[in-house]
Amino acid sequence: MRNTDRLWAKLVLAPSIILLAIFVYGFIARTGYTSLTDWGNDPVQALSLHPVIKFIGFQNYIDLFTGGLNARFRQDLISTLFFTVFFIAGCLGLGLSLALMLDRNPKGEGVWRTIFLFPMSLSFIVTGTIWRWMLQPQGGVNQLLGLDPNKFEWLTGRSSIWAFDWNKIPLITAVVVAIVLGIVAFRALREGQRTRMLVAVACAALLLIWALFVGPNVKLLPAPELHGFNIAFIGIIIAAVWQMSGYTMALYLAGLRGIPEEIREAARVDGAGEWDTYRTVVFPLLSPITLSAMIILGHISLKIFDLVFAMTGIDNATTDVPALLMYLTSFKQNAFAAGAAIGTVLLLLVAVIIVPYLASQFKTEDNR
């Protein structure tokens, strides 16, 4: 009896598993393969019924990262990293402030919550349409706040700040990874895990030596190529925070409501002031929420597509992101292989964030 039931359970799951195996893993593999070919690099071949497709290895990736024609992709990568940092910081900061205010039980709490959360129910296209109008240089926000349209150009701004040379990317990456490894080593030392500490220290040292002696001479491109933070993104970041900070607010509010009043009470009895209670009791309990929020927001940010499409369109190189460039490359220029390569890079970026997250979620579940 139970055996047939278990069989039914697997049979019920089978169609979903097969579909996801094809539509997720099969298609990812297929995209990966396409990215190793030259499909669409020759426009004539792209749309023919039986295109001649050659296997060219990692050439598309090499072109993306070091090719003279692909500066736009490299700028997109840098843009998406800046966007992610500011978007996450904005959502966490605003979301936490809203949650803390609502946690003090103001009158009409439900109404406030509804106001802060409603943008979550809107499409990024709707949000983008509204904010594009808000951020017209001569109108909207500038008029309301009395800002000079020549200084606050918002989406039409063309300047860039914090520019650095793309050739320095390997160097910067090596140093950043070495610092992270250093932190890992330090924590391992405190927890008394000798092997882990030694391995981390050794890897960090190797990277630093490489950065000191080899790194400065590595040239990805023949000439320096400057990339920075395009300030036209500020408007898009504001719109994105407007839409998504309600999400972090809901997460934090659920977390705050989950903290038993006794724990806070105990801290107060011990003589902790209001701020101390937050610092020593509340915030540490919220830190796992901050981590999951960062992961969820981070992967949303890497995938951001619709909002940029609605606010500045696909032909606007200043405010381009990889997700948009993939669409443009594959479906407007029919350069499928190059588009597949961009899609794969995007997937790898997201996987770096999501795979450890899923792994940790299910590890704890198995231990229960």
Binding site: L20, F23, V24, R30, P106, L117, V126, T129, F309, Q361
Partner: protein, 293 residues
């Protein structure tokens, strides 16, 4: 944040004491100031959206952006409806069909995964979940080819297919967590009574699934309605959902702004209504999306 930490529960003993007016708490006032400022940030764009939509094209100029319209120009809405009304119909069909299908699949999957745990069920589920995080750009080209080879390109069914398949992870996740709270003793009791897999689903699980279905349906409906990438790649003019039509409506340079604003309102109304009427369930779906540790 320097309020005095006196927030003892109000007991009847204390109400007897003379109600000494509490001093105006600075922290309390700051909270309300903060809330009002935040509410302005969230609502001003909506104010601008509404006043612009109700203006006549010649009344829209950058200098009078924030002023109220002289009269209510409803023709913005009828004009916008003429352009995107058909797409609204596509979206309704798409969202309802895809949502119902993925909700049913999710319910069965969640039941199988949470109540008939087999070896490796968790790992399998983790692999399923990965599908909800991937950037769809990484599957878009093969999906496009696949849809084309089935002869579905340009048909609304291509979108239904994509949304049902890529919706399986989240609907399964929400139902799995929902059913995890159903006591296993209920299932065991039913097994002793001789009920099998389907009988238990029909008699025990399904009847208590209504809240789960509400959460999943609201969430999926909102997601599918608002989706844009598939809408932009797998459809042709006749099957485009409203998000794509709106992006085209707003895309032109010389467009008078009342039209896209009215279009944005039309496109937003269904999901906004769902949110306002069933906000509690909406938030549950929102929180479920961040997996569950």
């Amino acid at each position: 944040m320097t309020t005095t930490p006196v927030s003892l529960p109000k007991s009847s003993a204390q109400t007897a004491s003379p109600p000494a007016r509490p001093p105006i708490k600075v922290g309390r006032v700051l909270v309300y100031v903060g809330l009002v400022v935040a509410a302005l940030f969230f609502l001003l764009p909506i104010y601008l959206l509404l006043v612009t939509a109700f203006k006549t094209p010649d009344a829209i100029n950058l200098a009078s952006t924030w002023q109220l319209p002289k009269g209510l120009n409803w023709s913005s809405f009828s004009d916008a409806w003429a352009k995107i009304g058909g797409n609204m119909g596509n979206s309704v069909f798409l969202a309802v069909t895809a949502t119902l299908l993925s909700a049913i699949i999710g319910s069965l999957n969640g039941y199988a995964l949470s109540k008939w745990k087999f070896k490796g069920a968790n790992t399998l589920f983790a692999f399923m979940l990965f599908g909800m995080f991937i950037p769809y750009q990484s599957v878009l080209i093969p999906l496009f080819q696949f849809v084309k080879s089935l002869g579905l390109y340009g048909s609304i069914w291509a979108l239904v297919l994509a949304h049902v398949v890529y919706g399986i992870p989240i609907t399964t996740l929400i139902f799995r967590n929902f059913y995890a709270d159903v006591p296993d003793a209920l299932i065991e009791a039913a097994t002793i009574d001789g009920a099998g897999f389907w009988a238990i689903y029909g008699k025990v699980i399904f009847p208590i699934s209504i809240p789960g279905f509400v959460v999943v349906i609201i969430w999926q409906f909102t997601q599918v309605w608002n989706e844009f990438l598939f809408a932009a790649t797998l459809t042709s003019t006749s099957s485009q959902p409203v998000t794509y039509a709106l992006s085209q409506l707003a895309g032109g340079q010389a467009v008078s702004w009342n039209l896209p604003m009215a279009g944005a309102i039309l496109a937003a109304i269904p999901t906004l209504l769902v949110y306002i009427l069933l906000g509690r369930y909406f938030v549950r779906g929102l929180l479920a999306g961040s997996v569950k540790g």
